[in-house]
């Protein structure tokens, strides 16, 4: 057999395409003749080399360049990342990273403090004006005990007490009337909304005239 026919026979042999006679002949040659075996193996190596070269020729040169460029980019990127990782981090970054786990509890505590401040702040409103209160007349009678029948004993001089807190202004928050009885004919509860807030007004109708109110009682 010439080399070309031997290569073809080997291909056919490994593909199981040889007739029995030729297959047995090749097997006998491979087992009995060492030189022939080496020759066949050399031919086989040559065949593989030729096949690979043929496959390589099918790949365009540009493809290799693209692959190599990609490899280079990957290597450069890894090098940059490694360099950045190895470089010194600023002090503030380190401090920030150190306290990073503390943000959540600190924020929670700040929220609690803010809620407490709002709760306390809503307790009592501050007066909005600063007009002093003065007394226009002298005092009438006073009495400490409330359950005694009228007439009552005179009160102490209340002008002093009125003037002590004259610089404070009322909070003007609406009153919640829980129970009310009018001794006269009618009465009504109304409210006044002003810049100072809401003020409740109890109107007493102790005359014959009729008060026009939607909330007349």
């Amino acid at each position: 057999m010439n080399p070309v026919s031997e290569i073809e026979n080997l291909h056919a042999y490994f593909d199981g395409e040889l007739p029995d006679e030729e297959r047995k002949a090749i097997e006998a040659m491979l087992t009995e003749d060492a030189e022939a075996t080496l020759a066949e193996l050399s031919l086989l190596r040559q065949a593989i080399s030729v096949g690979l070269e043929a496959e390589a020729e099918k790949i365009p040169e540009a493809r290799f360049e693209q692959l190599w460029d990609e490899v280079e980019r990957t290597l450069e990127r890894d090098a940059r990342l490694q360099q950045a990782a190895d470089s010194d981090v600023s002090l503030w970054s380190r401090v920030g990273a150190f306290f990073k786990p503390l943000w959540a509890p600190t924020a929670a505590l700040a929220g609690v403090a803010a809620a407490a401040a709002i709760y306390i702040g809503s307790g009592e409103s501050e007066p909005t004006e600063n007009t002093p209160v003065s007394v226009a007349s002298n005092d009438g009678p006073a009495q400490e005990a409330a359950d005694e029948p009228m007439p009552l004993a005179p009160l102490q001089d209340d002008r002093i007490a009125a003037n002590v807190e004259a610089d404070e202004m009322p909070s003007n928050n609406e009153a919640e009337i829980q129970r009310i009885e009018f001794g006269g004919k009618t009465g009504r509860i109304d409210r006044i909304e002003s810049k100072q807030g809401i003020t409740t007004v109890i109107w007493i109708d102790d005359e014959d005239e009729t008060l026009d109110s939607e909330r007349a009682l």
Binding site: M150, S171, S194, D206
Partner: protein, 175 residues
């Protein structure tokens, strides 16, 4: 990534540093509790108020004259409301004050001939619960229970007067 070994990292290895957040948070909890207690202390003290000081202002509303005097500036916003549009001028007749203890009743006899009784029924948080009775001679004009913010004003008015109508402004402060 390289890790520089500092004195701190040698003293406190990484498993220990991971405990900083819970340790710090747990140390802040009692601090926040104490701070909150201190902040809430005034409100708590206010909630325990067992007395009140009440001012009673008698205001005469007239259909003649002009304006609101300075001494009624604290009621100017209310007196300018449409409900008082029928009145041209106002005058502060008198002001009295009553010191009330919880459950006790105080009474003020006004020069207008009216008597106002006030009883402090309750004082919780910043609110006061009061019982007010306004009478003219033997006749009770109004008898009411109301709750109001400390330093809030309740107006009772429309009582006949030779020169117009009389209004009473009641302002109480807890504590």
């Amino acid at each position: 990534m390289k890790h520089r070994r500092t004195i701190f990292t040698r003293l406190f290895p990484r498993p220990f540093t991971r405990l900083w957040a819970p340790i710090f948070a747990s140390s802040l909890v009692p601090l926040a509790t104490v701070s909150g207690a201190l902040l809430l202390a005034p409100a708590q003290a206010q909630a325990e108020a067992t007395s009140a000081t009440c001012e009673i202002h008698t205001v005469l509303a007239m259909k003649t004259g002009d304006g609101i005097p300075d001494e009624l500036g604290f009621l100017a916003g209310q007196l300018r409301d449409d409900q008082f549009a029928a009145f041209k001028s106002f005058r502060l007749l008198e002001s009295k004050s009553l010191k009330l203890k919880l459950g006790e009743t105080g009474a003020a006899m006004m020069t207008s001939g009216h008597q106002l009784k006030l009883q402090l029924l309750d004082a919780e948080s910043s609110k006061l619960k009061l019982h007010a009775v306004l009478a003219s001679g033997e006749k009770v004009l109004v008898d009411t229970d109301y709750r109001i913010e400390s330093n809030g004003i309740l107006l009772i008015g429309g009582v006949r007067h030779p020169d117009g109508k009389v209004f009473f402004a009641i302002r109480c402060r807890g504590g």
